[in-house]
């Protein structure tokens, strides 16, 4: 479902956070840019606002007073695929994973920089606007052609195992967005239980060795510790 644009053409962002300071900050940052901003201070208000204003991106705080953030995500996901970016604090990786598994698209750890925030918002908007994923992915020296199943780094062809390619393809189709271990495992291996997560790690490690110029300082496949991976 494509997002509908409003008459004034600005993408709509809904911020659901109970802390006034955060809302004020986001208001300052976002409404001056190319977005129009809506605010809700608790879960129920957020659900109502989501239904009323049909935002293009939702920024959802996990620590809401009335409803569990996960619960909010589930309810929204019942009727809308709108991108949801979760705002969380550090050390709560489990919460992030649960949120992502429940349907959130990405997360930001407080305190976050504005640059990162805007990047994620734009990426989410871009993804949601696309009907079909682009066949060609280019990022610096990496080029992935999904149509012809060809991966090149600095114009050099890279030979990947089928599993490695599947992983990379999955990452590319969700480029910029974080994917949990569980999601990748399910997509590539069809596993629903995480019996052997190391198989993923091993493959990622091999992938990195093949496509990263310095596998110890990956530029493309970024580990989100405790959560999953993200292709930048």
């Amino acid at each position: 479902m494509t997002a509908e644009k409003t008459t004034d053409n600005l993408p709509r962002i809904l911020v659901v956070d109970d802390e006034l300071a955060i809302r004020r900050f986001l208001h300052m940052v976002l409404s001056s840019e190319e977005f129009s901003l809506y605010e809700a201070e608790n879960g129920h208000a957020g659900l109502a606002a989501a239904a009323a204003f049909r935002p293009d991106v939702i920024l959802l705080d996990l620590g809401l007073p009335d409803l569990d953030g996960i619960e909010v995500i589930k309810r929204i996901r019942e009727w809308s695929p709108v991108p949801i970016i979760v705002l969380s604090v550090r050390e709560h990786e489990n919460d992030k994973v649960s949120a992502l598994d429940a349907g959130a698209d990405d997360y930001l750890t407080k305190p976050f920089g504005v640059g990162e925030l805007l990047a994620r918002i734009r990426a989410a908007l871009r993804r949601s606007l696309l009907e079909i994923p682009e066949p060609l992915f280019i990022s610096n020296d990496l080029q992935v052609d999904l149509g012809s199943r060809r991966v090149t780094v600095n114009e050099f062809d890279i030979s990947l195992t089928p599993t490695e390619y599947d992983i990379l393809r999955f990452l590319v189709t969700h480029a910029g967005k974080v994917l949990t271990h569980g999601q990748i495992l399910k997509q590539v291996w069809g596993m629903t239980n995480l019996e052997q997560p190391h198989v993923l790690r091993v493959n990622i490690s091999n992938l990195r060795r093949k496509i990263e110029s310095d596998p110890s300082r990956p530029q493309h496949i970024i580990t989100e510790p405790g959560v999953g991976y993200r292709l930048r």
Partner: protein
């Protein structure tokens, strides 16, 4: 008293009647009407129910004022206290005011004067100190004629039994004298009050002379009178007075009984307000004069010599000697009537169980001497045979005691006369020179036996005292070695049991009650005994056997008392029933109790000191922590707010570059604050044991990559060299936490190494461990501090001063150790620090190449 009470009640005070006996007098009954009467206690004594004051009822009712008639009354046996004035003392201590009545003859210090006046010995007395305590004394003065009229009208209560005595008592002459005594006593008290008032107002006045009186006591029954007389004199002269007991080696017969009497006399003197002292000396006169000069005595009070004149031949009376030596000190000679049996107090006379046997033995000795002499008669002159009899006397006095020895002297003389002095076999003496021999034998016998008996008594006393001192010493020694309460209790129990041949129980307060904490074998206390112990504890006063409170108890209870508090109660049951009254035993028991109390207090204090120390140390640490944290939290905030303020105020004046620099610094400081808060949180979680590891098999390369991603902005252009072998196994770890560890270490290396030097990250494995190393080219750490690097708040000392919290590495340690790993630091050759993290390799951690 009743009228005064009614007035108070009208004023609104809470007045109750504790004990007023109207004896059917209508006047009294009328006055009692309207006042709250507390019930009396009925004490059964010999089948008769005697009404007494109900002390507990008064104490629990807690009125403001209670009326207690007849202060000098003696309570029936079985009551808590012997005397009613002791009951009143307890009531006063509970904070309740008391109205009471007393007659002039009940004053302790006036007791013998009254006896002198009336010829009647009054046994019920009240100590003067209690009367002096009184807030107000009201003299009910009535002319003798009026009193006699009241008597005739039946308004004065007379118990039937005492009718005759009272008749004698109520003679006009007596009444007049007693009235004068009352007036004088009251006047003296008013005088005291006036003097006190003058003192507080600093009114100059005719101050009394600074007289100081001294009186000596002995075991003589006259001592008591002397003491009372001195007391009266001291009051008249407004002088301080001292009572001294001079102990000489001469001793005298009945030394034990003497000591009892002396003790009682000293107690009396103290009760009357004297300062008592005991002095050991060889010569009485010397001792008296020495004491007098040392204490600036102005008058020595002595009694008139009572001994018959002929005794004075041998020894001038003490009075004379002292008068001669008195110098500048006055000597006051006091007279008193001889009293027949008054002072023969209930001192148990020591019975010698061997008396009959002693005489028999001495007879035997004399017989033996006689036989011996008979055998030697052909060879010895009669006069020489006396020696054998002398020998017999000496043996008798050494072995048998004084009386048998004298008996043997006497028998020896007779035997000698009968068997060996011509004409033999008769008591007739031919040569009168033998009379001298008889006399000599007899005198020598008496003298020797006396000397020996005295010496033996002395030795016994010394031995007893030595035993006592020894037992005290053992107790002190044991107590000094005790490190806790149990040891103290055991030591006390053991020592008291041994020293006094007794059973002991020690009770300490547990909450509201007293609990038995230690007891001798076989000793149990019933409810009654426990109540007595309880009383002793609450009132800090000995109770039970041989005391003046609750004397019907089985044991004697002594409070374990220190100057600051009462710690408990020690109950003692002596094997020998008579031993309860012995002064030495009481003294020893008191000493034991004091020692035990002090030892317990010592332990309590040392434990308190320990706690205080621990608390102090903890407080210090907490304070240091808070200071450090508050400083570290504030410092970045200062930068941030400073930058923001200057941007706010000066924003427009600043160049772009300046503005950007300010903003950069604010950003990095804010991030630093964020990291610090994160560190704090980590630290508290580690401390609380709340670290939960989400372990998974992870790739070390992944770990390094994540850590570098976090720090790359901070370390800027500094080169980081990474050497990771390709075949590193996967390791079980919590990636998030280990990233934090590596980040902290990298931050550390960055902070302490010069800007352009390289940080090296490498990993190696051996069979069980994977070692991850981070090495820098900084200043390193002083050798002795290497171990402390991972302590909380330790900062590596660098000349420029350290910033940062010192928490980073300790967090690393906490996390690594939670993984079952180890972290260590060492200095590199060539300078710099190397930190090594060793993590256990999982058994199944082989690389699993999947296809």
């Amino acid at each position: 008293m009743l009228e005064a009470a009614r007035l108070r009640k009208k004023d609104g005070r809470d007045v109750v009647v504790g004990y007023v006996e109207s004896h059917g007098r209508s006047e009294t009954d009328a006055l009692l009407d309207g006042l709250e009467l507390l019930s009396r206690k009925e004490v059964n004594y010999l089948g008769v129910a005697l009404p007494e004051i109900d002390l507990d009822a008064i104490l629990s009712r807690k009125p403001q004022i209670v009326l207690v008639d007849e202060l000098a009354h003696s309570n029936a046996p079985g009551s808590r206290h012997e005397k009613r004035w002791q009951d009143v003392e307890e009531i006063l201590e509970a904070g309740i005011d008391v109205y009471t009545t007393v007659n002039i003859q009940h004053f302790e210090s006036l007791n013998d004067v009254v006896t002198q006046i009336t010829g009647i010995i009054v046994r019920e007395t009240v100590p003067d100190r209690l009367l002096d305590l009184a807030f107000e004394i009201k003299l009910i003065d009535i002319p003798p004629e009026d009193l006699l009229q009241r008597l005739n009208e039946g308004k004065v209560y007379i118990p039937d039994q005492a009718a005759k005595a009272i008749e004698k008592f109520f003679r006009p002459g007596n009444l007049m004298a007693l009235r004068e005594l009352s007036l004088r006593r009251t006047a003296a008290r008013v005088d005291d009050q006036m003097r006190a008032y003058m003192e507080t107002q600093s009114i100059a006045g005719p101050w009394p002379t600074a007289e100081r009186l001294m009186v000596c006591v002995s075991g003589s029954p006259y001592s008591e009178k002397l003491i009372r007389a001195t007391c009266r004199l001291a009051e008249e002269l407004k002088a301080q007075w001292f009572t001294v007991y001079i102990e000489t080696p001469v001793g005298g017969r009945h030394m034990r009984e003497n000591r009892e009497r002396i003790w009682q006399n000293l107690r009396l003197a103290e009760g009357l307000g004297a300062q008592v002292a005991s002095v050991t000396a060889t010569d009485v006169t010397d001792a008296v004069m020495e004491y007098a000069s040392r204490h600036n005595i102005t008058k020595i009070v002595m009694g008139k010599p009572k001994k018959p004149r002929w005794r004075e031949i041998f020894q001038p009376p003490v009075v004379d000697r002292i008068i001669r030596r008195s110098g500048a000190v006055d000597v006051v000679i006091v007279n008193f009537e001889q009293e027949k049996n008054a002072a023969a107090s209930n001192v148990p006379k020591r019975r010698s169980p061997f008396e009959a046997r002693g005489y028999a033995a001495s007879l035997l000795l004399v017989a033996a001497a006689t036989v011996l002499c008979e055998l030697l008669r052909p060879f010895l002159e009669a006069t020489n045979m006396v020696m054998f009899y002398l020998l017999a006397v000496v043996i008798a006095s050494v072995r048998l005691g004084r009386k048998p020895a004298i008996a043997s002297a006497f028998m020896g003389v007779l035997a000698f006369d009968f068997f060996f002095v011509p004409p033999r076999m008769t008591f007739v003496v031919a040569d009168t020179q033998y009379l001298m021999t008889f006399l000599g034998l007899f005198v020598v016998g008496v003298v020797i036996s006396t000397l020996v008996a005295r010496a033996r008594e002395r030795a016994e006393v010394m031995r007893d005292r030595e035993v006592q001192t020894a037992s005290l010493y053992y107790l002190s020694r044991d107590l000094a070695a005790s490190a806790n309460i149990d040891a103290v209790l055991k030591a006390v129990l053991r020592n008291v049991e041994e020293a006094l041949n007794a059973q002991v129980v020690i009770m300490l307060p547990e909450g509201e009650r007293l609990d038995i904490l230690a007891t001798s074998d076989g000793l149990t206390l019933d409810m009654k005994e426990q109540a007595v112990a309880d009383w002793a504890f609450r009132n800090s006063h000995p109770a039970g056997r041989a005391t003046d409170t609750l004397v019907s108890a089985d044991l004697i209870y002594l409070p374990l008392q220190t100057p600051s508090s009462v710690l408990g109660v020690m109950g003692v049951k002596l094997e020998n029933q008579h031993a309860y009254h012995s002064r030495e035993n009481r003294r020893l028991l008191d000493a034991f109790a004091t020692q035990a109390a002090m030892a317990m207090e010592r332990i309590r204090f040392s434990r308190q000191a320990e706690h205080a120390q621990i608390l102090q140390a903890r407080e210090n640490l907490e304070r240091a922590l808070l200071n450090s944290i508050s400083h570290d939290l504030r410092t970045p905030l200062v930068s941030v707010t400073g930058v923001l303020y200057s941007l706010k105020e000066e924003g427009t004046h600043l160049s772009d570059r300046a503005r950007r620099e300010l903003l950069d610094s604010a950003c990095s400081e804010a991030e630093r604050l964020n990291r610090f808060v994160g560190n704090l949180l980590d630290m508290t979680r580690i401390e609380a044991g709340a670290i939960r590891l989400n372990v998974e098999l992870c790739d070390i390369q992944d770990l390094v990559g994540c850590a570098l991603a976090v720090v790359e902005q901070r370390i800027g252009s500094r080169p980081v060299e990474i050497q990771l072998p390709d075949d590193l196994p996967l390791v079980f770890m919590d990636l998030v936490l280990m990233t934090q560890v590596l980040v902290n270490i990298l931050d550390n290396a960055h902070k302490y190494a010069p800007a352009e030097s390289t940080i090296e990250v490498s990993a190696t494995t051996d069979n069980d461990w994977l070692s991850l190393e981070v090495a820098d080219r900084g200043t390193g750490v002083p050798e002795h501090d290497l171990k402390r690097v991972f302590d909380k708040f330790y900062r590596i000392p660098i000349p420029e001063g350290a910033d940062g919290t010192g928490l980073g590495l300790s967090i690393c340690k906490g996390i690594v150790e939670a993984h079952g790993g180890r972290i260590s630091a060492e200095n590199r050759t060539g300078g710099g620090l190397r930190i090594v993290i060793a993590l256990p390799i999982a058994k199944t951690g082989e690389l699993n190449h999947d296809s």
